[in-house]
Amino acid sequence: MTTRLSADQDLVRHLSEVSVSVELQTPDMTLNIGPQHPSTHGVLRLVATVDGERAFNVQPVIGYMHRGYEKLAEVRTYPQITTLVNRIDWVSGYANEVPFIIAAERLLGVEVPERAQFIRLILTEMARIASHLVFNASYPLELGAATPLFFALRERERVLDLLESVTGGRFHPNFNRIGGVKPAQGAGSATRKVIQDLPRGFLAETRAAMDKVLSTVNELEALVAGNEIILARTKGIGLIPPETAAAYGMSGPNLRASGVGFDLRKVSDYLPYTQFDFRVPTGANGDCWDRWWVRLEETRQSASIIQQAIDSIPSGPLLAKVPKIIKIPKGEIYVRAENPKGEMGYYLVSDGGLGPYRLKIRSASFSNLSILPWILEGALIPDIIAIMGSLDFVLGDVDR
C-alpha cells in the first residue's frame, strides 16, 4: 500500500520536475579525419569532437612522417646533410637546402661567388613557383572544383623539367655544395676535365617559361577568382589576426595574408634579393581567400624576379675554393630563409668535426599547423577542410 502511494508520489514529483526542453540532447561524435584522407596533404590525423556539423576540440595528431632528421644529421657529414634536408618540404625541394648551406658557409667563413648566388636565387624562386602552383590549384580541388588543377600542373611540369635539366632532380636536386653550386662536369676525356657551367639554353628557356607561368596564373585567377561559390566558401572563413599568427609562429604567405607585410627576402641578405624589384603582396583580412590570393600574387612576383635575375646574372665561377674534406670550425649559427611555406631556419652547432654536433631544423609548416586547434574551434566540417587546405602545409615539413 505504502509502496503504491510512494510510487504515485514519485511519479508526480517526476512529472513536476520534467521541463520541456527545446534542444534535443544529442551525444557528440568523435570523428577521425585522416590519416588516410584525400584532403589532409599527407598523413595528418585530426581527432574532432563533432556535434552535428560543428567540430570542437580538434586535436591534430602528427608524427606519421617523422624520420628523425635532427638525430640523423648528427651522424652525417655536411655535404651529406643536403640529401637529407631537401626531403623536408618535398614540394619545393631546392628551397630547403639553401638556408642550411648558407649556415655552413657562414660558419666556415667561405665567400660564395656571385654567379652561384644568382643561380641559387633563380632555382629557389622556381621552387617557390612550383610549390605555389600546386597549392593554388589543389585548393579549389578541395572545395570541389577539379579543373584548375590540370591547367596549373601542366605549367608546373615545365618548371620542373627545367629544374631537372640543370640539377638532375625534380624534387630533390642536391645541387648545392658548400661554397656554391655544383659545377657540372662534362663527359670529357679522362685526361681533360671539362667543367661546365649551366646547361646551354637553360637561362633562355627559363626566361621564356616564366611568360607561360604568368599566363597560367592569369588563367587560374580568371577561373577561380570570379567564381562566386569559391568566394562564398573562402571569404570570411578562418580569420587569423596578425597577433595570434605571430604568437604561434605562423610565417610566410599565411602571415602576409593577415596583413603583415614582412618578407625575409626584403630584410635579410641570405641571397641577393635586394637587387631586384618586387612587391610583397599582403592580404586584407587573414581569411582563406587572402591566403590563396597572396600565393597567387607571389607567383607573379617570383616570375618577375627570375626574369630580372636572368637578365642581370654575372659571370664567374660556380664554386668557391673549399677544401675537399669540409670541417667547420667550432661555433653556432642560426640562418633563416623565406621558403615557399614560410620561414625555414637551421640552428647549427658545430664542434669542428665533419658533421654538426646539433642541427635544429625550424620548419615553417610545423608552426603553421600548430594554430589548428585554436582556429578550428567551433568550425563546420566543410570549413575544416577549407581552413586546413589554406594553410598550405606539407607533412614532411611538419614532422621532419
Binding site: 584525400p38 572545395l143 570541389g144 572544383a145 577539379a146 590540370f150 567564381n227 561559390i229 566543410p382
Partner: protein, 334 residues
Amino acid sequence: MNFWLELAIKLVVAAGIIPVVGMVIGFAEMKLSAKMQSRMGPYFAGGRWGWAQLIADGVKFFQKEDLIPADADRPVFKWAPALVLASTVAILVPIPFGPQVVGRNLDLGIFYALAVSSLSTIGVLMAGWSSANKYSLIGGLRAAGQLIAYELPLVLAVVGVVILAGTMSLNGIVEAQASWFSERGWQFGLPFVIVQFIGFGIFMIATLAELSRIPFDMPIAESELVMGYVTEYSGFRFLFFFLAEFANMFSLSAIAATLFLGGYWVPGLSQPQLNFVGPIVLFAKIGVLVFAMIWFRWTFPRFREDQLQAIAWKWLIPLSLANILATGLLKVVV
C-alpha cells in the same frame, strides 16, 4: 498489340535502357571532362577512342568481392542501391519518346514522376545509416536534408508548366507546346522554356541538387567524406549507385526536356513520323541538358551545407512561388 507482349517489350527496354544510357553518359562525362582539362580521357580501351572503358569498368565491378561491413545492417544495406535504381527506372514510365512510344500515358504523368523520384531519398538514407561508418552517416544525413529541401523547388517549378499546359499528363504537355499557336495556324509551337525560363532555371538547379552533383554534392563531397554515403559500397552494389547517378541524370533531363523543351516534338513533322524521329529528337534535347550538367560539374566547386539550404529555402522556393503566381495571372489575363 497483345497487352502482355507490349508489356514484355517495355520491360525489356526499360531494363536495357538503364545500363546502356548509364554507360553512354558516363563515357561522355569522362571524355568531356578530359577535354575540358586538356587531357585525353579513356584512350586504350576499344581502339584509340576508349568507348569500351565503361564496359570494362562494369565487368570489373561485377567480379569484385561482395564486401559488407561487419557492423552493417545487412538487409537495409543490400536494398538501398536497389531502391535508388528502382526510382530511376520508374521515372521513365510516363515519359513519351514519341506520340505512341510511351511506357504508359498516365493522366497524372508528372505528378507520378516527381513522387517516384523522391523514393531515392529513402535509398540514400538507408545507405548512409546501414553502413556503420561515421562518414557515411554524415553523408546520408546531409543528403536527406538536401534532397528534401530541393524537392519543393523541383515540384513548384513544374506547377507553372502545368498551369500553362492545363494537364499533368506528359503527352498532353508536349501536345500543348506543339499546338500553342495552332489556332492562329502557325506551324511552330512554343517550348515552355521561353515563357517559363525562371521555372526552367529553378528546375535545373533543383535537378542538380537531386542528383547530388557538384555544385550540390555535399553528400558525397569527395575531398571530405571520401565518398559520403557510398563509402562502404564496393563491387556491383557500388555499380548500382554509379549507374543510378548517370541514369538519373538521363531520367530527370528527360522530364526537363519534355516539360520545357518540347519533348519529342519538332515542327514540321507529322504524327506517324514523330513516332520514329521522336526518340532521336528527345535524345538530342536530353543530350544538351546532360552536357550542361557535366560542364557545371567540372567548373564549379561545391556549396557548403548551410549555404545550400539557404539557397533552397530562401531563394528558390519564394522565387518559384512568385513564378506560379505570375503564370497563373498571365494565363487568366492573356
